[in-house]
Symmetry: C2
Subunit: 246 residues, 2 copies
DNA sequence: TTTTTATTGTATAATAATTATACAATAAAA
DNA sequence: TTTTATTGTATAATTATTATACAATAAAAA
């Protein structure tokens, strides 16, 4: 694989992805750790090919790490301060990894590419953690799900990017719920409520929550789910396919 | 002034500004017309210097055309389809203006710069039309306010950009009202209502509108305004300065 | 078989927010 | 004065949201 500086990318533009996943009352973010000495975490990111829509680039970057195709993606903000560059981070990385020689060769060229100022377009995605097998690429040492409340320290302004993505996710949740992929195919109302409570980090009153969600008219009621518990069995639901709504 | 291709700009990134102004129940957009044969209208746009925040670049581009300093600006969307370039428009312009020779010289270089693919960051601004004297720059033939419902045909996807800006403006209106600049220093409640009715393109019930706006707690009531009309004189208001709100 | 337990689904009461209506208070002309 | 065309405010009617009550029920315990 060619180095970024040799690819046909639009220069100084990057895409940062905040991949939200949900599992057992925890909202998580998929974050790779770089395969270098020193602890460097960075959001899944990439660049835009000359002939590629930015939405498609975001999708590609996501697929590389999650290998799922039908993904829900939303552009939420552009980060464009003049001070946004990887120099501080890269210099720190090089200091911790003296075997990397930056001299008159490819490395020098890559160093210059990476330490440019970048304007970054932020996208967030929602995926079902069970449907994703995180994929390490290139320079990843590991790639893991971190609870949104206990993220590792990240490079540059990546923590701020996650915070802004979370705000956008909350704003969009009701509107976009039928595009979601955070729950299994079939689920109970309780599971939906737990998802909401986790994303909003606050409790909802069960009876009113149920009414609110049903009035969104995006759920289809299926058979009951008998778990063996000594109480009334809840119904299972699934999201209507868009054409069925009405 | 140097040509864009010779400036220290970030390449393939542009900023498009939708400058909303309000006057006499009309929501208008400030749009320059290019100084070439053929009718070419394009949103005020510009590029980002290497050492310049994108917010600041947007502010600079706005000041060039309006010469006002304290401007309310909001980033609302990035337009990044791979097909976004000025080639179709420029070729049309050149066809209508045969005196422009594109050959092995500066023109050729400029042509190549302008026909690159551009990723454009959309900003919208709100200004008081009375406080603005539109400024022609460089290649402007004219610069005028057009009613948002009767915009001239614009190049590329600029109509779509305006539409998206209007949606964002409506969404943000209540929240951002104290940052606004669409009304004179002092105004009546009726004027505020007319502003809202114009922006939302729908009527509001007077009594309830008054209550709603007052409950936002951003207005300060001043003296009455005696116009000589044979009826009760309305109060004048002004926006509180932020520190006074509470 | 009946009772008990924990939970679910739905109804409805209480409260809050929104919208519609009524009406007194003007400023100036008739 | 009376009239006219507003404006400011109060309150009624309606709708939406939130709180509470309670019957239904799946399976274990009595």
């Amino acid at each position: 694989m060619k180095n970024p500086s040799q690819q046909n990318y639009i220069s100084q533009v990057s895409i940062d992805c905040v991949i939200f996943g949900y599992h057992e009352r925890q909202l998580k973010v998929l974050i790779p750790k770089l395969n270098f000495k020193g602890d460097f975490w960075a959001l899944p990111a990439g660049f835009v090919y000359q002939d590629e829509d930015i939405d498609r680039a975001a999708k590609r970057i996501l697929q590389e790490r999650t290998s799922i195709k039908d993904i829900y993606l939303e552009q939420f903000h552009v980060f464009g301060n003049a001070s946004r560059n990887n120099k501080a981070f890269l210099d720190q990385l090089i200091a911790s990894n003296p075997h990397i020689v930056v001299s008159k060769n490819d490395n020098q060229r890559e160093y210059e590419w990476f330490t440019q100022r970048f304007i970054s377009i932020g996208y967030y995605a929602l995926v079902d953690i069970n449907k994703v097998i995180p994929q390490k690429i290139d320079l990843d040492h590991s790639i893991e799900w971190y609870n949104v409340h206990s993220l590792p320290p990240m490079i540059m302004d990546h923590s701020e990017i996650v915070a802004k993505a979370l705000t956008a996710l909350r704003t969009d949740l009701n509107e976009k719920i039928n595009a979601f992929n955070l729950l299994p195919e079939k689920f109970t109302m309780k599971e939906v409520q737990e998802l909401y409570e986790t994303i909003f980090d606050r409790p909802f009153v069960r009876t009113n929550f149920q009414k609110m969600i049903l009035e969104l008219n995006v759920l289809e009621r299926l058979e009951k789910k008998f778990t063996g518990a000594a109480n009334k069995a809840p119904y299972l639901y699934r999201f209507k396919v868009k054409d069925d709504i009405g």
